[in-house]
């Protein structure tokens, strides 16, 4: 199957899945004791007639199934409604999702840059000092709650004043030129990216180590050694390329874990991302916002898995897409 048809097929498969997710989330939130307009009602600047109009526009005076129909009809027309803060949900989500993607992409990049060499080093020197050291580090990484590690780094930043303590931009961000703006953002990203990288490092490093150990036992590796190839050619040219492939399938799962892990990290570090937005939405009973971000989270996860599958096809020509 060619790649475009495969992608099309997967998108068509995802549509019913997204439908089920939307029904599920909607039912869930409708069962919750939530008044999505509570904040509009509490705001004296918003007139009663405006609230009535919004109630009618959102169909809150109608039964739940009708409300769902209206919600999904609006969604299909690209209207996600407004959040209780009065801003358009779409605008809010786009701002925040961009920040979360930035965080996740950088974390995945660094995770792979560190985990692959670390996994290789541990497998090559199996049972030796390097292997044991990484063994201990990954045990710690796998057991470290993101919020605890974020708090520890926050403490470090407070004690040393080397790094900014949370947020994404400094207070003078808008007075800086473009280069300094980018530098400022990067500086703010150091702590959250470190947290997420450290936590997701463990799984990838262990998987890489195990894969390489498996591959090193294969017949063709023995052949390569037998015909007198230098050890580093055997490892980096023959074994490594085959050992990396299974990791690419993990990429999709990793992305999902990152989205969840990011939610808590964002909260601790006051990072303006999707997770924190959703959490605030849940706490302020912001129906439209929570619905939209649950759906967006699911879409991001499905797209992440799809990308991982397509990437695998490009890396490993033996894979046939089905």
């Amino acid at each position: 199957m060619s790649v475009p048809i495969f992608i099309l097929k997967r998108i068509l498969q995802a549509l019913p899945l997204l439908f089920i997710i939307s029904v599920m989330s909607f039912t869930m939130l409708k069962l919750a004791p939530i008044d999505p307009l509570a904040h509009l009602r509490a705001n004296p600047a918003i007139s009663l007639s405006a609230i009535k109009a919004e109630e009618q526009r959102l169909g809150l005076d109608k039964p739940a199934p009708v409300q769902y129909a209206i919600w999904i009809a609006n969604l299909l027309q690209g209207d996600m409604g407004i959040s209780t803060s009065g801003a358009s949900v779409f605008v809010l989500l786009m701002q925040r999702a961009g920040n979360t993607l930035k965080l996740s992409a950088l974390s995945i990049l660094f995770t792979w840059l560190i985990a692959i060499p670390a996994g290789v080093a541990a497998a090559v020197d199996r049972g030796k000092f390097v292997d044991k050291l990484f063994g201990i580090l990954t045990s710690i990484g796998m057991s470290m709650p993101t919020f605890l590690f974020a708090l520890l780094l926050l403490m470090f930043a407070l004690a040393t004043h080397l790094l900014p303590i949370g947020g994404l931009t400094s207070s003078n961000y808008f007075e800086l030129d473009t280069i300094h703006q980018i530098l400022d953002e990067l500086k703010h990203l150091i702590i959250p990216v470190t947290v997420l990288t450290f936590v997701s490092l463990a799984g990838i490093q262990r998987q890489m180590r195990a894969n390489l150990l498996d591959v090193l036992r294969a017949e063709y590796v023995r052949t390569a050694r037998a015909k007198g190839l230098p050890e580093h050619t055997v490892i980096y040219h023959h074994a490594l390329r085959n050992a990396i492939n299974p990791l690419i399938t993990l990429l999709g799962f990793e992305f999902s874990a990152l989205l969840s892990g990011a939610a808590l990290t964002e909260t601790v570090l006051a990072y303006p991302g999707l997770g924190r937005l959703t959490l605030e939405g849940v706490l302020t009973k912001d129906m439209n916002l929570v619905m939209a971000s649950l759906m967006l989270g699911a879409v991001m996860l499905i797209v992440g898995n799809l990308l991982a599958d397509v990437l695998l096809k490009f890396v490993d020509p033996r894979i046939t897409l089905e």
Binding site: P16, L17, I20, I21, M24, S25, M28, L29, L31, A32, P33, I34, S139, I140, M142, S143, M144, P145, F147, L148, L151, L152, L154, M155, L158, A159, I165, R206, Q207, R209, A210, L213, S256, L259, S260, G261, A263, L264, T267, V268, G275, T278, L279, V282, L283, K285, V290, S293, L294, G297, A298, M300, L301, I302
Partner: protein, 372 residues
């Protein structure tokens, strides 16, 4: 000859031919150490009342947010005496708007073991009023400081353990039966039903778990008793945990059904339903045991995460997650109050121990997966 036999026999008795998985788990130093730590933690949780100086709700508003009490070993003359604590006094700096505590010199309150204190009921049954250690009133022994309501952080860690440590296991008892039955059914029935059931499981897995978790936690009405809330949070955690298990079980059922011994039973006339129950499902047992051991820490982590952001176990009840919330609320003064991170450290140690046991258990029960 006789002496040789005499030395041989005890050796044979010590080394049974076939070691049970439990023996091999216990032989591993790391696993044994982790099991002992976990055992200690559960013991402390179960006997929190006699082991701690104060009850969960004991509070003294005059010493809110106090630092850990200092145990003095020397009296004013410099002689070594029974350890004692001094009473503390709150002072407020009107320029920096910060409060600090200073000790009032005078006669101290000596540390006493098996001291009579607040009455309690161990596990809700056995009454008593003897605490392992403590200081006489009105002295206060706050080993890890006090929280914003003047409650003892050290004691509350024990009571928090009761919630945080049991929720992982209770979650298992809901999530795993559902996952096994759902996955087994799906693999057994097959066809359109299987397809539909798996799409539903995938839908649950397609929402990033933490988003689903906070969405579900928002459904809980605010006016619940603490035990109702505890129960419902367990249900929510299990709701997230069963889908992944169901998928794996279904895959295993589908492949094991094609194994020769299952086909043989089928050919011998065994009804398919009993065949699945008797031959197929038991084959998944070692996977289930390993998955369960590794699922407990993830439940514990989810509960603490949820309580940490204020959606899980609520005040005045203690859980490690909501105690760690104090660290987040005081993030700016965290450097001066590192003891606020103690509950986070306990969460970390618990998860580390469960992961260690799970890893070794997997090597023991599932040699095919060795090293992964």
């Amino acid at each position: 000859m006789e002496s040789a036999l005499a030395t041989l026999e005890p050796v044979i008795a010590q080394e049974p031919l076939r070691k049970t998985p439990w023996d091999r788990l216990w032989e591993d130093k790391l696993a044994r150490f982790s099991l002992i730590i976990l055992g200690l933690m559960y013991f402390c949780a179960a006997f929190a009342d006699p082991l701690t100086p104060y009850s969960m709700d004991f509070n003294d508003a005059d010493v809110a947010n106090a630092p850990p009490s200092i145990l003095h070993w020397h009296n004013v003359k410099g002689e070594v005496v029974t350890p004692y604590v001094l009473q503390v006094e709150r002072t407020f700096n009107h320029e920096t708007y910060q409060q600090s505590y200073t000790e009032i010199p005078g006669s101290g309150y000596p540390l006493k073991f098996f001291i009579k204190g607040e009455p309690y009921k161990i596990l809700g049954i056995i009454p008593g009023d003897i605490h392992l250690f403590g200081v006489p009133n009105p002295g206060r022994l706050f080993l890890l400081g006090s929280d914003i309501n003047g409650r003892d952080n050290f004691s509350r860690l024990f009571y928090g353990a009761q919630k945080s440590l049991t929720i992982g296991f209770l979650g298992l008892f809901i999530a795993f039966p559902i996952g096994i039955i759902y996955g087994g059914m799906s693999g057994f029935v097959g066809g359109a039903v299987d397809n539909g059931m798996m799409r539903f499981a995938e839908a649950i897995m397609s929402i990033p778990s933490f988003y689903l978790l906070i969405g579900l936690a928002a459904m809980l009405p605010p006016e619940m008793t603490s035990s109702q809330r505890f129960a419902l949070i367990t249900v929510i955690l299990s709701f997230i945990g069963w889908a992944g298990l169901a998928r794996v079980i279904r895959g295993m059922v589908l492949s094991i059904r094609e194994e020769e011994f299952v086909q043989a039973a089928r050919a011998a006339g065994m009804p398919e339903f009993f065949n699945v129950i008797k031959h197929v499902l038991p084959q998944t047992a070692s996977f289930i045991i390993v998955a369960a051991t590794l699922q407990v820490p993830s439940f514990i982590l989810s509960e603490s995460g949820l309580s940490f952001i204020g959606l899980g176990i609520q005040q005045p009840d203690a859980s490690w997650g909501n105690m760690l919330k104090a660290a987040l609320d005081n993030a700016n003064e965290l450097v001066d109050q590192p003891w606020l991170l103690a509950p986070g450290f306990l969460i970390f140690v618990t998860i580390l121990c469960f992961n260690n046991v799970g890893d070794v258990l997997r090597d023991v029960l599932d040699p095919k997966m060795q090293g992964r």
